[in-house]
């Protein structure tokens, strides 16, 4: 069975079943935004949501993660902590699944990262496909992440009265096996799925004014562009854009002693290339002085460097960096400005050009 279906009225029964199988995390409302949280009450789960403040990254690459315990006298270090429980990430957007795929590439690169892999092993991903735009900040279509492209165990698609479930792994199949209310998808279901996908083509249009190949070339040529100075002048280096990015993975480690001053714990804590001291080295030399060069670095880490190294763009199109920026630095606007500079039309595309797509709520 590759595709199954579940009636909408049965969804809560299934969710109850899932929460009994493993720790369940799902999006829910927090003030006017959304966050992934452990599910306590199934009715709180939001199936329709704009990308959460932090991506689900916090569950497989936590903000502050215990790495191992150590002791000074007698000197002793322990192996990586790996006692993690099974957990399910429910209703993950396709952009965030792309983020998980990116981090997989990073942390599986030799030497492999045992802490990440130990957690990842326990993780089950149940995605949900977006049928309309979350808001005007997303650029998922240009990045090709507006449709499922693997990386999940199950994928839910709303086809009206039912959800279609795409079964993409054995882990996923185990979560629906033997349940009477989940049936193999019939021909009519598959036809509905096709119709939904057709309808999506009318809604989702490329948000960036050029192909990815063109964007890559543009980045190659516009390292010295004045656009970076403009971005840098507005930036306050708060680091919001990197904290909320599903593909940012920079970290620092810190040893925290107990008050005994003999035992301690090594932690791994998120770090950000936007911070003043990030590229400073001994002797005080700073390789990326100025907020302009640090912002530029962030963009190059999405559209240029990972393409050279892994043949993969590290922007997922989730739009979080734009959404969270109080200085209103917009990824779509910046990339389109570079593209305009490349094709010789220097005027900056207005924000209204972006808004034309409308806000699907």
């Amino acid at each position: 069975m590759k595709y199954a279906s579940i009636k909408k009225e049965d969804l809560n029964i299934w969710l109850e079943y899932l929460s009994g199988r493993a720790r369940l995390y799902a999006p829910r409302k927090k003030e006017n935004l959304f966050v992934f949280r452990p599910v306590k009450d199934i009715s709180e789960i939001a199936l329709k949501y704009i990308p959460t403040i932090l991506p689900p990254k916090k569950y497989y690459f936590p903000q502050k993660e215990k790495l191992f315990k150590f002791k000074i006298r007698p000197f002793k270090t322990a192996k990586a902590i790996k006692e993690f429980e099974d957990f399910i990430l429910f209703a993950v957007h396709t952009c965030d699944i792309a983020g998980i795929q990116c981090l997989d590439v990073i942390f599986r690169e030799s030497p492999e990262d045992p802490n990440y892999l130990n957690r990842k092993e326990k993780m089950i991903i149940i995605g949900i496909e977006c049928l309309e735009y979350c808001d005007k900040h997303a650029n998922c279509t240009s990045m090709g992440n507006h449709v499922p492209r693997g990386g999940y165990d199950l994928m839910l698609v709303d086809i009206g009265e039912k959800f279609i479930l795409h079964i993409n792994s054995e882990k996923g199949e185990k979560l629906i096996r033997g349940l009477t209310y989940i049936k193999e998808a019939n021909d009519a279901d598959m036809l509905s799925l096709e119709r939904v996908r057709e309808a999506k083509k009318k809604i989702f249009k490329e948000e960036l004014n050029g192909s990815l190949a063109k964007i890559y070339e543009t980045f190659d040529r516009h390292f010295a562009s004045p656009i970076w100075q403009d971005v840098g002048r507005r930036c306050v280096a708060c680091g919001n854009c990197t904290s909320v990015c599903p593909t940012c993975y920079c970290f620092d480690t810190s040893d925290e002693m107990k008050l005994s001053l003999n035992e301690g714990m090594r932690y791994r804590i998120w770090n950000s290339c936007q911070m003043e001291d990030y590229a400073k080295v001994a002797g005080g030399e700073d390789f990326r002085k100025g907020r302009d060069s640090r912002q530029r670095h962030r963009y190059y880490r999405k559209f240029k460097y990972p393409v050279d190294k892994f043949n993969r763009y590290f922007c997922t199109g989730c739009g979080r960096c734009t959404r969270t920026c109080m200085a209103e630095i917009s990824l779509i606007e910046t990339v389109n400005s570079l593209l305009a500079a490349e094709s010789g039309t220097p005027e900056r595309p207005s924000a209204s050009g972006v808004a034309e797509r409308g806000e699907a709520k």
């Binding site: 927090k30 003030e31 006017n32 935004l33 966050v35 403040i53 932090l54 916090k58 903000q63 502050k64 002048r233 507005r234 930036c235 306050v236 280096a237 708060c238 680091g239 919001n240 904290s243 909320v244 925290e256 002693m257 008050l259 005994s260 001053l261 998120w270 950000s272 911070m275 003043e276 001291d277 907020r291 969270t324 109080m326 200085a327 209103e328």
Partner: protein
């Protein structure tokens, strides 16, 4: 040359610690006293010889001095210099000691006027000087920012000084910690906040509890004044109001701040 504090000593005789308050509310010492379980552990590592809030003895033989409060009189200057001479390690505890704090409001008016406002006819009997953070008068080895100081940070600094290591202050914005705590940004709700330019280290304590950031930890080394002003203006604040926000705690920090924000 001043003799260096020797961390090895803490394994034998306990280092003697004294607390001194200057111009302040003594709230940061209270934070220290409110440390809970950790206070018992700290008491096992150091010998507290002078701490007005928790004991009546006043020992004058100490190696580590915690200074609370800002320097606001000539007498303060003499007193803090004397303490510095005696102590091997000097810690500035709390916003008044580290950045001048709220007391810096005095510096907004000429001294004579400030004196008259507070003491009226008796103003000529009062000695007062411009509010200064402790490091403007003597060398400070450890800074514990905040109004009040944040207990986990106090503990971290104590560990550092007992190990003879420096405590490296975060040089990034409160936003970094706030975002890791997944708070809804106050700007998202059209409410102002000094998080983007204020030095982190408090784990976004105020915003976690529904308040705004007041900048009590001082600004990061290189605050983005232009960007921050743009943001505040965009959210409907006037330049004078912005200045008031910036100077609530930081008025006595001097030129660097004046250039950036005045």
């Amino acid at each position: 040359m001043k003799k260096q504090f020797n961390p090895e000593r803490s394994r034998g005789a306990k280092p003697k610690v004294a607390f001194f308050d200057f111009t302040d509310c003594e709230g940061c010492q209270l934070q220290f006293a409110n440390m809970g379980q950790a206070l018992l552990e700290v008491a096992g590592l150091v010998d507290i010889v002078n701490f007005r809030e928790i004991m009546s003895e006043e020992g004058q033989d100490y190696e580590i001095a915690f200074i609370e409060g800002s320097i606001t009189t000539d007498k303060d200057v003499t007193r803090v210099k004397k303490i510095r001479e005696k102590a091997n390690v000097l810690v500035a505890l709390g916003a008044c000691a580290t950045i001048g704090g709220v007391n810096g409001i005095k510096n907004r008016a000429p001294l004579e006027l400030a004196k008259e406002r507070v003491y009226g006819k008796k103003s000529d009997t009062i000695n007062t000087i411009n509010t200064m953070p402790v490091h403007k008068v003597v060398k400070v080895d450890y800074f514990i920012h905040g109004c009040p100081a944040y207990i986990p940070e106090i503990i971290t600094v104590i560990k550092c000084l007992l190990m003879g290591r420096p405590y490296v202050l975060p040089n990034y914005a409160v936003c970094t910690e706030c975002k890791m705590n997944e708070n809804v940004c106050r700007y998202e709700k059209d409410q102002e906040c000094l998080g983007p330019v204020t030095r982190a280290g408090c784990n976004s304590w105020c915003v976690n509890n529904g308040n705004r950031c007041y900048g009590c930890r001082g600004l990061v080394d290189n605050p983005a004044a232009d960007g921050q002003k743009d943001i505040l203006l965009k959210y409907g604040l006037k330049l004078e109001e912005i200045l008031q926000h910036f100077t609530l705690y930081n008025d006595s920090m001097g030129e660097k701040y004046d250039q950036a924000f005045k």
